[in-house]
Structure formats: C-alpha cells, structure tokens
C-alpha cells in the first residue's frame, strides 16, 4: 500500500468508525466528526478514491473498498490498542486518551503496538484480585511518588480506591440514567439473534431507565422503546458510556 499522510489515515478511520455506528457515511458526517471544511473532505475523498480505497458515487454515500477497509482496520486497531493502554493501564481519562491515541497512531511502529497490545492483554489475564491490587498500587504510586511496604504486603481481595479503577463496561454495570452506545454483543451468546432482531446493533444509543424492584432485570430504552433483560444477559453486551 502507498504511503498515507496522517490526515488521510484519519479520514479512513473516520469512515470506518461511522460505518460501525450503523450509519451510511456522507461527506457531512465526516465534516462533523473531524471538524474540518467540506471542501477538504471532498479533496481527501478524491485522493483516497484515486488510490482505490473508497467508493464515492451513489447518492453521495462514501464506502470503503475491501482494500480501504483493511487499511482503515489497521489504523483503527492501532488506535484501539493505544487507547486501551492509555486509558486502562495508565488511567488517563477517556477524552485525553482518545486524543493522544489519535496522534500517536500515525507514527508508531507495528512492533511497538504489538508489544503494547500484549501487555494490555497480559494484565487482562491476571486474576481480578491481582489486577485490582496491581492497579491500585500503581495509582497510589503515582499519587504519592512511592509505595510503602504495608500496601505491598496487603492481603488479596481487599478493595480500595475503586474510583481510580478503570472500568470494563458491560451493560449490566451501568447505573440508572446512564447512556451508552452498543459496541458489540458477544457473538457466542445464545441471545445474539434475538437482540439483533430487536434492534440492539452496534452503534445504537441506549439508556438505562430502571431496575426491577427486586434488583433484576433492568429496563433500557432503545430506539424509543423499552426493553427489559436480566443482568446476566446484559453482561453479554459491551457498551461505551456516553456522558
């Protein structure tokens, strides 16, 4: 593949993400997402289309070609890895983590990204207690600049400093009134078919409306209607919390 400038890479990525969200992508979507002028978008799309990475004809929709999709996925994956690393491991807040990931993704080498990805993956294979401990130690270290012995030799399973913990979001973890966008449904779960046909598709916004008096199931609002499901089912749905 030919060399792409960072801004072209950003365009590709934006098209991919927009198509994840279940939308048809138009020039104005990109204008909105990247906060640039329509004329620059059109220029960029022309270049991308000359490189055979996008199709841009019917009804003004923009679509990635197979080649374009591969290129975009590559950048997007880098972005995801970097974001996870910044946010989950380093504990940088979501906005800043996204911003930095957007910058670094264009310059970082594949080998480095791979190692970072493996590190993130490694922390996820640790037992939950171990991981909690590790993270809270790390965040204490950042706060105090040192780590006293007591904290290191603490018994496992002890909960502390929950606030600084990065959260892995599944739908069951959300609180009443929180809004989120669906990222994916666990493809192996038996409820996937049913949820999909009821409109629970990636990119859709949902809101947690209520919890049954006995604590389970929960009720979410999606596409303007109310859907109730048990927490154990909600745990199969990965979401990204919106503010």
């Amino acid at each position: 593949m030919n060399f792409l400038s960072p801004s072209l890479e950003d365009y590709l990525e934006t098209i991919l993400i927009n198509s994840f969200r279940g939308k048809v992508v138009r020039v104005k979507d990109i204008v909105k997402s990247l906060n640039v002028k329509a004329s620059s978008v059109i220029g960029a799309i022309k270049i991308l289309s000359s490189k055979g990475l996008v199709n841009h004809e019917k009804y003004g929709y923009i679509e990635l070609t197979a080649k374009g999709n591969i290129a975009a996925e590559k950048i997007y994956q880098k972005h995801q890895v970097l974001f996870n690393f910044f946010h989950k491991i380093l504990g940088i807040d979501i906005k800043a983590a996204i911003k930095d990931a957007c910058q670094v993704e264009h310059y970082i080498g594949e080998e480095t990204v791979k190692k970072i990805a493996q590190l993130v993956e490694f922390t996820e294979t640790l037992s939950p207690q171990k991981r909690d401990l590790w993270f809270s130690d790390f965040h204490n270290f950042i706060k105090k600049g040192s780590l006293n012995q007591k904290e290191i030799t603490r018994k496992k399973g002890q909960k502390e400093e929950k606030k600084t913990m990065p959260l892995v979001f599944t739908l069951d973890k959300l609180k009443i009134g929180q809004k989120a966008a669906i990222i994916k449904i666990n493809p192996k779960s038996v409820i996937k078919k049913q949820l999909l046909s009821m409109g629970v598709v990636p990119g859709i916004e949902i809101e947690v409306c209520k919890v049954a008096p006995l604590g389970d199931p929960i009720d979410i609002k999606i596409k303007g209607y109310h859907l109730s499901l048990r927490k154990e089912e909600a745990a199969h749905i990965e979401v990204e919390v919106l503010k």
Binding site: G22, N55, K210, V211, Y225, L229
Partner: protein, 672 residues
C-alpha cells in the same frame, strides 16, 4: 366463481395487529391451532367489493429468523402457503424497529401492504411521517390506520384488493456493502446452477445462509450434493468475518438497521419541538415499577382481581343456579304428568340438568376472570408483572415470561400450558408446563366457592386466596425440585419488550372473553357432559339399584378408595367418587357431589355441612387443587411434551395432593 384471496397479517407484538384483525373480520373469525403445533391460529374473512378475503393472523414477531416457534410458524406459513398479500401492521410511533420485519418480508419477496397503525399517537408526539416517501422507497402501498378507532380500514381493504391484482411488484433491495453483495452474487450463482430450493427467493436464501439460519441450513443439508454448497458458505462467512473483524450476522443485521435508520430520518420530521417530554408510560412506570411501590401494587392488583371475580360474579351465578333448579322442576313435573318411567326423569334431571347446570353456574366467574386477564394484557401491565416478578420466577428456576402462562393458568390450565410456547427454551417450557396445573384454574372455583361458602362464609375471599397462594408456593417447590433433578443447566434468557401503556379496547376484551368463555363452554358441553352421563350410568347400574346408592357401581368404587382419604378427614365414598370423576374435569366434582347426594343448590350446601368439618373441607379443597390435572390438561401436556412428562405430571400431583391433604388434616386436628 372467483377464487378467494388469502391474506396474512404480520407485525410486532403490541403493534395493534389483533385490533386490526378484529376490525377487518368482526365476528367472522375463529380460533384454532397451527397444524402440528399449539401456537394459536386465528382465521377470519371479510367481503370487499364482491370478493371474499380469507385472513390469517400470524403470531406477533420481531423478525423472520427461526429462533422461536412463533417466528418459525409465521415463516413456514409465508414460505409454504404463499399468501396473496401480506399486511404488515406497523406501530407508527416506533417506526424503525417495526419496519425491520417489513424489510425482511420484502426480502422474502412477498406482496406487501403496510399499515401504519396508531398514527394518532405519532401526531400527538409532534411528529410527521412522509407516507409518500416511505411508499416510494419501499415500493409498496402505505396506509394510515387508527385501528382502535376503526379508522383507515376501508382504505386498507382497497389497498389489499388492488395489491393482490398485481403480479409481482417487489423490486426492493437493500444494498449491503460491496463485499457482501459480491459474495451474495457468487453464492446465488452456485444455488442457481445446483437448482437448490428453487421455490424460495434466491437472494433471501443466500442472506439467510450467510446469517447462519439453522432452519435453512438444515434444509440445505438434507439435499444430495450439499457438500459443495455448505463448504462454500462456510468459506464465505470466514472470509467476510475476517474482513469485517466481527461476526457476519451482526454485520448484515446492522446494515439492515442502518438502511432503516436512514429511511426513518428521511421520512420523519418533528413538527413541533416537544422533544424529550416524559411520556405517560414513563410516568406510570415510575410508580408501578417503583422500587418500593412496585410489589405492593402488583399484589394489590392480583388481590383486587380475585375480589372482583367473587363480588361481581356470585350474584349472577345464583341467578343461573335458580334458573336450572326451575328448569329441572318443570321437566320433572312434566314427565310425571306424562307418566314417563322413573329412570328417564332421573337421567334428565339428576344426570344432565344437574350436572351441566352445576357447571354453567360458574360461567360468570370464569368470564370475569378472563375479562381481568385480557385487561391486564391489553393495558400492558402483564409485561410489567413479568418484569417485577422475574427475579422470583428466575429464583424458582423459571423465567419472567413463565409468569404469563402461570397467570393464565389461573383462568384455565389449558391456555396456560399453551402459553408456555412463548418460552424459547424447552427446559423452561417443560418446567412451566409441569407446574402449571398447580395454578388454581377457574374450574376449581366451583369447589372452592361451594365449600368456602358453606364453611367460611365470612372469610370466603381469604380462604380462596389462601388456596391460590398454596398452589403458587407448591409450584415453586416442585419447580425447584424438578429443575435440580432434570435440568441442571442454565435457563433461557429474558428479553422482553415493555410496551407502552394503552387503554384496553372494549371490543378486543369482549372478543377475547367470548373466545375463552366459549372454549370453556365447549369443554363443558362435551367432556363434562360425557362425564356426567358416565356417572349417571355407573350410579344406575347394576339394574334395579337405587340411584347412586352405595350398592351401585360407583358406590363400590368409591368405597374401595375411600379409606385412603380417611387420614385427610373426608373418607366418605361420595367424596372419593367425586374426586375420581374430577379427573375427567375438575368442574364436575361439585356436579358429582350434587348427583351423588341427589340434591343441588341450597340442598347440596346443607348436605355438605353435615358431611364435612371446616378442617376436612379445607383438606378436600387442597386435594382438589393439587391432585391430577383434568383430562383436557393431561391431553394438552401430552401434546406439548411427551408421555414421559405427562406421566410425571399426573404421578407427582396425585401423590403430592394426598400428602398435603393429609398433612392439613392431621396437623390441623392438633390445634382444633
């Protein structure tokens, strides 16, 4: 002679489909079952401009996959029966999700008419839908309807008529992205060459195969040279999934919804900016599903329902009772005047009028019960009840949706058992069916009303409520035990829409009431009638014996098993015999007692007062609640499961009933 036109009605649950159906057909409808399964099938017909239209109401579904029986039934009908026109009822206030079904139907290449129902609600919300644009993009007729006010029905009929004249109107196609389209094209070629399943729309077939629809895959696997095709499909799926980075089914559904989202955006405009206003449904839910109020309200509603059945139903029941007493007397007098033989008079008065009368007396109560159930369903509260109760149902190894079959079981176990079809998992379904007979059906009411009326007149409601409650508690215990014995694995998920609250339609409620009521009457007219005649015969043989005396066949049979029940305080042969015949149908327990004691109405009450004590009466009621489902229920269980489960249902209830009755009497005797 012009051919009848076949129409199918499809739509999401709660889209107002049944109301449209009732409006179109009026009284010209009947309820049956889909062949081979027990999903309810409603058929009806109407005339329009000189032609007759047969109309079939498909089960309410969200999509045309085959993950639930309802969807499979609907899909098989569309594929195999090929109706001339399919009318899709769309809840216009929830356009996007409702249109998903329509889009799938279009892909199936059926002749479609869209009915945008509840359009008034849309206008109330300050929205406007551009019908013409919608009709143009989807290339099908779109009609505005307000079914609960009967509006738009003529227009709908006209659209149906003109639509069935067209040969093949469907040119609709969703553009899944280029990569998917290319593969669809390739696979279509393969199917075409191999001449596989040619009676289906090829594009739809390919898409279903790519979505890994089990039903269609199975059909392909049955073919002779399937290997090339199945390999090709797996290959394509792997390739596309690798390309997308996530599973293909999600990708396909996502694109369908993406199309709809675009379409809805283009067709809908907010006329006035009253966005984000709290809707009435949300306001009601804030109270009804409230953390603290939810359960008290739920219990209160259930309690009120039963009070209503009694306070409103009993006076009417007394009237019917009086009527049958009067008819019996007239006939008896008339026959004596004609000097007919004694046994004819006995057969007519003791057997037929006595028995059937004792059943019909309780029709008011049963109609009221179904009135309440259909109001609960029609208003949208039933789903909230499942929402509130799921934690409990789940704890007893069932599903929030099991609550609905259980609730229906209070009316009659047969629809209750049939409603268990809404459960997707077979395990949940079987468990729900097995414990359903413990839900005290309306046919047990006659027994309770009689005994509670005689012995606990001042606390009638409370005593009857306690029996219903006992049934529920036993159901929990039994379900847990069976679950731990037979189904240790995980149970099915709860994914349920909470529909907006609506005022139940008087017409729909009445039709529902009539349907269920007449079902009960049919039962009363056939099985019970047969039962009563058998009793009369057994009570009259051997010839010459005094009617229903101890020396009659029935008396001997009763005397034989009576000692079993003396531990429970009702060891009389009459009680034993009445229970024996209660297996035929629980309604005839009272009828049998009447026949055996040779009295009815007030007379029966005074006989019972002598034969039972309050304690043994309570034990008897408990026994009638638990022991052996009636024949109709047994037949339904068999139809829904197999002989093994049916035998279990009969066996456990018999033993459990006896144990509970004995325990009540023995423990009670210690205190009284």
């Amino acid at each position: 002679m012009k051919k009848k036109i076949k129409i199918a009605l499809a739509g999401n649950p709660n889209s107002g489909k049944t109301t449209v159906f009732n409006n179109l057909t009026g009284a010209r409808q009947h309820v049956g079952n889909w062949p081979g399964v027990t999903v309810e099938k409603k058929e009806g017909s109407f005339f329009y401009e000189g032609r007759e239209f047969d109309i079939i109401d498909l089960p309410g579904i969200y999509s045309l996959t085959s993950h639930s029986l309802d969807e499979k039934v609907a899909r098989d009908f569309l594929l195999e029966e090929k109706p001339d026109v399919v009318v899709v009822i769309i809840d216009a206030s929830n356009l996007e999700r409702n249109l998903y079904l329509a889009v799938q139907l279009l892909e199936l290449e059926v002749n479609l008419v869209l009915s945008l129902n509840m359009i008034d609600l849309v206008k109330k919300k300050g929205m406007k839908i551009d019908m013409e644009e919608l009709s143009r993009v989807m290339n099908i007729p779109v009609i505005e309807t307000i079914a609960n006010k009967g509006k738009g029905m003529d227009e709908l009929k006209a659209a149906i008529k003109s639509s069935c004249n067209q040969e093949k109107a469907v040119t609709f196609k969703i553009d899944y992205n280029n990569d998917i389209e290319k593969e669809v094209e390739k696979l279509s070629q393969v199917l075409k060459e191999k001449k596989i399943l040619e009676n289906y729309s090829r594009r739809w077939l390919v898409l279903k195969l790519l979505e890994q629809d089990e039903n269609i895959l199975e059909k392909v696997k049955k073919l002779e040279d399937k290997d090339e095709v199945t390999n090709k499909i797996t290959e394509t799926i792997t390739k596309l999934e690798k390309h997308f980075g996530y599973d293909l089914e999600t990708a396909i559904v996502q694109r369908r919804y993406a199309f709809l989202r675009g379409l809805v955006k283009e067709c809908c405009t907010h006329v006035v900016g009253i966005k984000e206003r709290k809707e009435i449904t949300d306001k009601i839910d804030q109270i009804v599903t409230n953390k603290f109020l939810g359960i008290p309200i739920f219990l209160g509603l259930m309690w009120a329902s039963f009070q209503l059945v009694f306070t409103l139903g009993s006076p009417l029941a007394d009237l019917i009772d009086a009527f049958f007493g009067w008819v019996g007397e007239i006939i008896s007098l008339g026959l004596t005047a004609l000097s007919a033989p004694g046994w004819i008079s006995s057969l007519l008065v003791d057997g037929i009028i006595g028995g059937v009368g004792s059943v019909l007396v309780f029709l008011p109560n049963i109609l009221l019960l179904f009135l309440i159930i259909s109001v609960l369903e029609g208003s949208g509260y039933m789903a909230r009840a499942a929402f509130i109760m799921d934690r409990v149902m789940h704890a007893m190894g069932l599903h929030g949706k099991s609550f609905i079959p259980m609730m229906l079981g209070f009316g009659c176990n047969i629809p209750g058992i049939m409603a268990a079809r809404t459960l997707e998992s077979e395990k949940d379904r079987i468990l729900t069916i097995l414990v359903n007979p413990l839900m005290s059906c309306a046919a047990r009411l006659p027994i309770y009303t009689l005994f509670a009326g005689v012995f606990f007149a001042r606390h009638q409601g409370l005593v009857v409520f306690s029996l219903y409650f006992m049934g529920i508690v036993l159901a929990i215990v039994v379900a847990r035990i069976f679950k731990s014995i037979f189904f240790k694995q995980e149970i099915a998920p709860l994914i349920m829409e909470l529909p907006p609250y609506r005022l139940p339609q008087v017409k729909s409620v009445l039709i529902h009431m009539w349907e269920k009521g007449s079902l009960f009457l049919k039962k009363a007219g056939t099985i019970i009638f047969a039962g009563v005649i058998i009793i009369w015969v057994l009570a009259s043989l051997p010839p010459g014996v005094e009617y229903a005396a101890k020396e009659s066949l029935i008396g001997k049979l009763g005397s034989l098993i009576a000692p079993l029940f003396s531990l429970a305080g009702f060891g009389t042969w009459q009680a034993a015999v009445s229970l024996l015949f209660g297996i035929v149908a629980k309604e005839i327990v009272v009828g049998t007692l009447g026949t055996l004691y040779g009295v009815e109405g007030i007379g029966l009450k005074s006989v019972i007062l002598q034969q039972f004590t309050p304690l043994s009466a309570y034990a008897f009621m408990a026994m009638s609640l638990i022991y052996v489902p009636c024949i109709a229920a047994i037949a339904t269980i068999k139809k829904e499961t197999n002989w093994k489960w049916t035998a279990l249902a009969v066996g456990y209830s018999l033993i459990l009933g006896w144990i509970v009755a004995v325990l009540i009497y023995q423990i009670g005797s210690l205190f009284i």
